[in-house]
């Protein structure tokens, strides 16, 4: 019998403390006390997630801090939680953005304060739960829980078209989720053993259960397996959101209150790509590989189309929203490169270059590293950008149109201008800032996989580079040139600059943008281990490596 605290696990504390906070908030009366309490209370999970960051044993890797209870034994559903290198940074990101959002909201939310903070804390529990789940069913439950509070956050405290945006967000995501539900049932039916819902599969290890086999083992690319995979895929692509499922995003982002946008872009979108990594890749390696190129095409479209549409926006918030479609496209592209098939590698080529297979594996790991890192960096960068939009719009100008806001804002509000400059440059991928590292890794990995023998992927990757160009264009043109530079706009002279309080809110985000841009290893260290083991576990190129070994062995024996 393990000690009680150990069995509960720090992960359960991180996840359910916000829920406790929510219940507490319901019993508080005074608005100011609610704001103070909720903000400070959200610091506890943040501290715990920092402890988690430093407590996670990177050398050992694998799932750690596990907790396990049998939840519905009849059906084989467990409360099984644990973290690896993919989830630790995202848990930290979630708790950080939650605290910053609550802190920011204290200044701008004046109506129905109690409900707002209650919903926000519930939302935090839902998001964190997704990142700790090692049981598919649990994953689904948490995936759904976040829907409801977000609906209310947009619908009550949002902009003029909030009701439409809220229900659109809700229905889109729900439609994806229910397809995932069917996929989940199909997975459970096609997994032999006592734990049909576990996410610990194949070669993975857990302290609590032996890994279940990969589902649909007898026919991994059969109709049923592909149908189940599509259920998951569509659910995740809606959440990401990837073209053509992205239309809910601009509405939701533009109408949501600032803190809602920060969480939506910073964390909720990551649930989709995280789901691809945590669920779709280990459960459907072969079905995923089969559909890799079409998905890659969607990623490419999201990248280029998202950037072009962003360029056409005059609304600051909408521009950032569409830039998320673009940036999340890189994540999808990286994931696709991780699973994409490689053809035309002949035994002779492998024999001539025994390193080919190993290099391919390294390329896949790089692409996945990039994708996972991009989840974190996009969360920080876009979180900062939405916060900056809110800071200028909510309390200062009540204006988001570039033509009205510009120009010369840097001179009018220099501190604000500097912050915006850093975040915007990070967003366009300037080397030295965090966004560059992850995008570079994605392209690096994708190119190498493409070069190794996947022509369509190579072309899609090459064309996706255009996205970087367009991103640079709209950031430089709209955000930098129209907004910050140029002669001062008379209308905004006298607008107060950022207060110390507001600077303090932005400080952690700016710190990570710069720190991980200059020296990304502390975070890559996590991700790299997890990527390596996932790629090894998926065994995408197992036959290639075998062929290579056999060929080189044959060569040596000939000599």
């Amino acid at each position: 019998m393990q000690p009680f605290l150990e069995q509960i696990s720090i992960l359960s504390l991180i996840t359910f403390l916000p829920l406790v906070g929510m219940v507490w908030v319901l019993f508080l009366r005074d608005d100011d006390r609610i704001k103070k309490f909720a903000t400070w209370f959200s610091v506890i999970p943040l501290i715990l997630s920092v402890l988690l960051w430093f407590g996670y044993d990177k050398d050992a890797g694998g799932f750690q801090y596990e907790a396990f209870f049998s939840w519905i034994p009849n059906v084989g559903i467990n409360y099984h939680v644990g973290v690896d290198g993919f989830s630790v940074p995202l848990i930290f990101l979630t708790t950080l953005l939650t605290t910053i959002s609550l802190w920011y909201s204290a200044g701008v939310i004046q109506t129905r304060v109690k409900e707002y903070y209650a919903f926000f804390l519930l939302l935090a529990t839902g998001m964190l739960g997704v990142f700790i789940s090692l049981d598919l069913f649990l994953f689904y439950v948490f995936f759904e829980i976040g829907l409801v509070p977000m609906y209310f956050l947009i619908g009550i405290w949002g902009g003029p078209r909030r009701e439409y945006a809220a229900i659109k967000f809700f229905l889109y995501t729900l439609a994806g989720s229910v397809l995932m539900l069917l996929g989940l049932i199909a997975v459970a039916f096609n997994t032999p053993g006592d734990n049909p819902f576990t996410l610990v599969r194949g070669g993975m290890t857990s302290d609590w259960l032996t890994a279940a086999p990969i589902p649909f083992a007898s026919d991994p690319t059969g109709a049923l397996a592909v149908a189940a995979f599509l259920g998951f895929l569509i659910a995740m692509l809606i959440k990401v959101p990837s073209f053509p499922f992205h239309t809910w995003l601009p509405d939701a982002h533009v109408e949501a209150p600032t803190a809602g946008s920060v969480i939506l872009a910073g964390v909720l979108l990551k649930l989709g790509t995280y789901g691809l990594v945590r669920v779709a890749m280990p459960l459907f390696p072969e079905a995923f590989q089969m559909l890799a190129v079409p998905i890659g095409f969607l990623a490419f479209t999201s990248i280029v189309y998202g950037a072009l549409v962003a360029m056409a926006q005059w609304d600051f918030k909408k521009l950032i929203a569409y830039s998320s479609v673009n940036h999340m496209g890189y994540v999808t592209l990286g994931i696709v490169a991780t699973v994409a098939a490689v053809n035309g590698v002949t035994p002779e080529a492998l024999a001539a270059d025994p390193m080919l297979a190993e290099n391919l594996e390294a390329a896949r790991v790089a692409a996945l590293d990039g994708a996972a890192l991009q989840m974190f960096t996009h969360g920080v960068i876009t979180g900062a950008l939405f916060l900056l939009v809110g800071l200028i719009y909510d309390t200062r100008t009540h204006e988001r149109d570039f033509r009205e806001l510009g120009s010369g804002l840097w001179r009018t509000v220099p501190k604000y201008g500097t912050m915006l400059m850093i975040a915007a440059f990070a967003s366009l991928g300037l080397p030295g800032l965090a966004g560059f590292v992850s995008e570079f890794l994605v392209f690096n990995g994708a190119f190498r996989v493409g070069l190794a023998g996947n022509q369509p992927l190579l072309i899609l990757t090459a064309l996706s580079v255009l996205g970087i160009l367009f991103t640079a264009a709209f950031i430089l043109w709209k955000v930098i040139q129209m907004l910050l530079l140029g002669p001062q706009n008379e209308r905004w002279i006298g607008t107060p600059d950022l207060t110390n309080n507001e600077l303090a809110m932005l400080a952690p985000l700016m710190f990570f943008i710069i720190a991980f841009g200059v020296y990304p290893w502390p975070i890559l260290e996590f991700i790299h281990g997890a990527s390596q083991s996932l790629v090894a576990h998926m065994n995408v190129d197992a036959n290639l490596i075998e062929v290579a070994r056999a060929a080189s062995a044959a060569l040596t024996s000939l000599r």
Partner: protein, 516 residues
Amino acid sequence: MLDLSPDWGVILTHFAPELILVIGALGLLSYDLYVRGKDGLQPWITLGVLLAAALATGWLYTMDPAEVFEGRSAGEVFRSGAFLSDSFTHFFRLMSVLTAGLVTLSGIAYMRGKTAFKGEFYAFVLFAALAMNLMAGANDLIVIALGIEFLSLVSYILTGYIREDRLSIEGGLKYFLYGSITSAAMLFGLTYLYGIAGSTSLPVIAEAVRQPENLVVTHLSTFIVPAALFLVLAGIGFKVAIAPFHQWSPDAYQGAPTPVTAFLSVGPKAAGFAVMMRLFITVFGTPELSATWLGVLGALAGLTMILGNVAALTQSDVKRMMAYSSIAQAGYMLVGIAAFGGTALMGTTPLGAVLFFILAYLFTNLGAFAVIIAVDRLTGSSSVSAFAGLSKRSPFLAIALTIFFLSLIGIPPLSGFFGKFAVFGAAVASDMFGLAVVGVLTGVVSAVYYFQIVKTMYFGDPAEGGALRPSPGVVFVVATALVMTLIIGLVPQPFIEIANQAVTALEPIAGSMVAR
């Protein structure tokens, strides 16, 4: 040869819940005669009677069947009687008592002053519970017909109970006319079954349809069985309100006093499905025989889910909307029955899934109706606009109704989600993917109309301010339903077991017992 002389001890024991209900109902009627003027006790007497019936059922539950039946096997008992007192019946006895009890509690304040005939109203509620019990345990065509007719008549009266209200009368009349026709169709179908077997007893019919050479009219049998079953399905489908036998329900739901609407949305559905399962599974549940009706049932399930969920979209009256919503929910339940041929599913059988669904649905739907009853009583209207700003006028009712709706949509970890998970899991296990896809996607559609109300409650401003104070009965029912919706969702295991145990009484008889 079995000893068929009446054993009063066994009869009194196994009819205890029904006897209590009969005595209670008759007592309430005479109470009104003698204690005229002293008002207000009738609902409490009703609750006391229901509690006694529930305790009696609980007592039966704990009995060891072997001891009760004095060494006779369950199969022999099945062959012998017109009414069965097994765990399947017990489950539905509890459902009927719970439904009647929660409806009574939430309706006390609503019915006060609405009618002069109070004693009769509550007596009819007890009669309705009795009728549902009879349906659940029916093992004979006569008892099935009697049970369904009994429940129908009580329902007609309750629907049209408020004579001063034109809508109430209209709803009752429509219900009655439609019900008469489907009853006739069902009775006609039952005569065919009688004709085939020469008996009204389900076990005899079961034996007859399994041995074609025993059939009285052999050359017609292949055609007659499906025809008879479809006619019977019309009668039962009318009670549970599945498409295309549902047309009565929007008008009846809207016109009926709201507590009666709440009752209609749960009680007859549960009892109807009990009869459907008993008849279709035990008698016609073999692979060869079920081929004649499974397809029809699956198609009706799909139609019901689509029609219910789509038609609910355009309703501006909440009671009408809930009528279509409960049609859609009946469609989900039907999916579980249509999938019954599938392999046992993850610790729960398809039929166990249906029972679990009904259990979850009972609390969620009655909770939602308790809120509607309160709003209807306090604002005098059940239109969507009456719910405007409810989150400000009564935060408790608003958040409760939101949670009930989320459960009906199937958002985890609420009870309704597990119900859907179970029945659609059964569908997937039986390779009925089409049905499962239709089910989950129409579930998304349902979110539109449920959230129309949520939106009105939270985003709208109240037409007239002022806090709404629900009656204690409503508060109790809403709180109970809320707790159960959460508990069944968070800890589904014991409830899955209860449901599974209930259907074990049903299933073995389907296979080995009769075929011997």
